[in-house]
Symmetry: C2
Subunit: 257 residues, 2 copies
């Protein structure tokens, strides 16, 4: 039996708790025995309130502590876990494994996805990127991760950094481009909804082909007439700057081929 | 009975032909009587070869001519249609209605989607944006468009320009960000596949919420430590420039709220 505590009450913690609860109902050798939240009521929707504590000093002894808390708090909270030589992991894409306190064995349990409150997600499809300091710990992490996900991979700190910055391009920046398009539509009294099928197809196409093969449009074609027309149409300076820089970048990448 | 000719043999023409053929088999008052391709063999997969011509002078008389050809050719080819006072439309997001020759009545039949050879697409979900010079022509276009799509809307030329430049943000630029992430992953020996669930969830989330509400990440949080770490991690100057500009733009939009 592997016993697990989850520390945290935000989106990631909530999705992890729900996912463990679901897997446990199928009967496994892994048990979520306790969760920690500064305010108990944040988690009563997800787990029996007897299993929630709001004091780190009341943490039960477990084999594995999964810390799903903000990056800045990881180092400090890890030093307050009142045990020694347990396996303690964080769930951040961006914090080094050695930022964890040395009282315990250290590892990373990074689910690569964007989590939204109240939006169900199929955890089984989410890659979980694992890192540990030794093979035995890795095996334990792997057992636990495979309980909730079908995609469990070993990732070192440098690869994790690459994934984290790539995730910013794929998620944060992409979403901001959607927002800019939304703004352009609003400014011209046309519904952004009309772009929704294109938006979805863009994602699906980049998965089917590679993004390189999926590239189309005036920048790729070198269609300077259309590019000029688009720039003339835009009135917002930041939008124009972004249009020019991304057009240039597409053209540089085409030339590299 | 409304009779239709399609002019063109590229991705859009092929998808339109396939879609008309499919709808016709259900029995309608609209008939695709002929298509034009410079080289007949390009379309024999899609329609009986007796219905294909490679000479504009051999075009049959029809109620509606749909030109699915490159932007630069629209004006010239429209002047070569050997009839007068028919309804002639183009399928471009970017060409003005008055670029069509005045021999015939003019209109626009713009399907807002990215078309890929050999990738099936559900045309019923694709918005078709219509423009005409008078109400009777609009009614005819609407009848024809509704045969193949469930989302038919009236869009004027300015709105169409806004949609076309927005489509560049939502499709071309977004796909390029995917490509940059792909490059960063490759440079660091980590599989881009790990980002695929995130990529798809990003699109789905922006449709469920608005892109504004869906925004997350270090730029939105004002997390300057993570931003600095990401910039330090990137080695490519163009990637850094794009990272900085989009981060700045997200932060400007946050301040506007």
């Amino acid at each position: 039996m592997i016993t697990v505590c989850i520390i945290g009450s935000g989106n990631v913690a909530q999705h992890l708790i729900a996912s463990f609860q679901k897997s446990q109902s199928n009967g496994t050798a892994i048990e979520l025995i306790q969760v920690y939240a500064r305010q108990k009521h944040q988690l009563t929707k997800f787990i029996a309130s007897a299993k929630i504590t709001n004091k780190l000093s009341d943490l039960l002894e477990a084999d594995l502590y999964i810390m799903a808390i903000s990056d800045d708090a990881i180092s400090e909270i890890s030093s307050q876990i009142p045990f020694k030589n347990k396996l303690v992991v964080h769930t951040s894409g961006n914090v080094a494994i050695h930022d964890l306190d040395t009282n315990n064995r250290r590892g990373v349990f990074y689910p690569l996805q964007t989590f939204t409150k109240n939006k169900a997600i199929n955890f089984k499809e989410i890659p979980i990127c694992l890192e540990s300091e030794n093979a035995t710990d890795f095996q334990m992490l792997e057992k636990v991760a495979k309980l909730i996900s079908n995609k469990v991979v070993a990732i070192n700190s440098n690869q994790r950094k690459a994934l984290h910055v790539s995730a910013v391009f794929v998620n944060n920046f992409t979403n901001h481009l959607f927002h800019l398009a939304h703004t352009i539509c609003e400014d011209n009294q046309v519904s952004f909804e009309l772009l929704q099928p294109l938006l979805l197809e863009t994602a699906q196409k980049a998965l089917l082909l590679s993004p390189k093969e999926a590239q189309t449009g005036p920048a790729k074609r070198g269609d300077s007439k259309t590019i000029a027309a688009h720039i003339a149409f835009l009135s917002n300076q930041k939008q124009i700057e972004i249009y020019k820089l991304l057009t240039q970048s597409i053209q540089n990448h085409e030339q590299e081929l």
